[in-house]
Symmetry: C2
Subunit: 258 residues, 2 copies
């Protein structure tokens, strides 16, 4: 049983401003919630239908578990096809941005507005040990329910910052951190030199990287089509492009080249 007040609270969290105001977000799905409960995220409350109770184990000492009906789940879920488990978590604080934030390989996302793409990129970043993603303020919100779902738990391990990208990149130039921008007409990512300390900038599929960020780029890179020069084609999906570029950075750093 769930109170009307709690239903209203959870439903309000579909809205970005309400999530920010309340410092809470929702995660749905037995696998996702179960994975997130193993991370450092602080759970507030877990709601389960009868199916959910059998699907996952939750330590009742750590978080309150409330059993609800399928109908109640439909009312609070952000999805058309609700899962059997929904949990409320606190939005964690992010580390302040300092010189240390420029260490290693990190991603910069400019105007990536689709929450599924953002979540897929965060999940991929986690896989490749990229621990920081810097987003323009007009990117999708990480705690959007669709985005949370696409990260598959990676949002608890990757730091996501929303900030003024121009100022952040200006400082990168001062610190002599190479900045790589993904374009349709850059140097082949497979043939150009890649550094172990790097920022990789991905722009939106429609508009590319904002012109005001171009002065801060060290190098334009591209993913060559096959056969080479097949220019009739659409660009790749942004999450796919980001993944191919990050994989190439890691291939060079991690692995004996074949």
């Amino acid at each position: 049983m769930i109170s009307k007040q709690k239903i209203d609270l959870i439903r309000s969290l579909k809205d970005h401003k309400e999530r920010e105001r309340k410092g809470l977000f929702i995660a749905e799905g037995s696998k996702l919630v179960s994975d997130l409960l193993k991370t450092s995220l602080i759970p507030v409350e877990v709601f389960m239908t009868a199916d959910g109770i059998t699907a996952i184990d939750v330590n009742p000492a750590r978080v309150e578990v409330v059993q609800i009906s399928d109908k109640e789940m439909e009312r609070i879920s952000a999805f058309k096809n609700p899962s059997s488990v929904l949990a409320l978590f606190k939005i964690p604080a992010v580390d302040p941005v300092t010189e240390k934030s420029y260490r290693g390989v990190n991603l910069i996302l400019d105007k990536i507005q689709d929450p599924g793409n953002l979540g897929t990129i965060v999940r991929m970043a986690d896989w490749f040990g990229i621990s920081r993603v810097f987003c323009s303020p007009d990117c999708a919100d990480l705690y959007n329910p669709k985005c949370v779902q696409s990260t598959m738990g990676a949002l608890a391990r990757v730091q996501i910052h929303y900030l003024d990208l121009a100022a952040f990149l200006k400082e990168a130039v001062n610190l002599q951190v190479p900045v790589y921008g993904a374009y349709m007409d850059g140097e082949s990512v497979f043939q150009t030199e890649l550094t172990a300390k790097a920022l990789i900038v991905m722009g939106s599929e429609g508009q590319g990287i904002s012109p005001e960020l171009a002065p801060f780029l060290t190098k334009k890179i591209t993913i060559p089509a096959y056969p080479a020069g097949n220019r009739e084609l659409e660009s790749l999906n942004v999450a796919v492009s980001a993944a191919i570029i990050c994989a190439e950075f890691r291939r060079r750093m991690n692995i004996k080249v074949v």
Copy 2:
């Protein structure tokens, strides 16, 4: 103005069986429709709101254009936020599967049920000159409106076959075509030998490649996490994994290795 009969026809095309029965599918969005009109696909009718008329040029000698109201567009669109252009196209015939179908590098999708993932994979295949994708019958339908949208026009250039994968792979073994399967625990795709003639099998994120296909595989491959051996992590999204693997095949074939 659009007749009720036509509205019913278009709305029925959200359903897989109705698309098959009528041999038609819908594409939405000014850019997508404009791109598809330049391909070999046969358009049947284009519906545009006043905004659509200014957004794209359509040759009225090639296809009938009907102006409709925003309200009518809302009624026929498969999306919550309808675009200004919607077009009806004929579903093209696919080439029969023969020995030639095994030429070059091709993709095999086993139980990829998310239409967005399927569409993103087809778009990526097009980029990398992979002209055939073979799907198990329980994959998402290519002509699902979400899938059509994610392909961004690539569905007109890549041949998609739905067939019994076991039989298809059995024949690959007879023809001595190497079959690579993506697993969590295979050889690193960056370090193992890759061939210019190949089938790449991708399984679903939840279940992986079906056990009944395993006997036909030549080699299990994997995308190594970074740092190596980080096994706590989730797998990558299937479209992201497929893209990284296809990019590596193409990097080896196309490009002087750095």
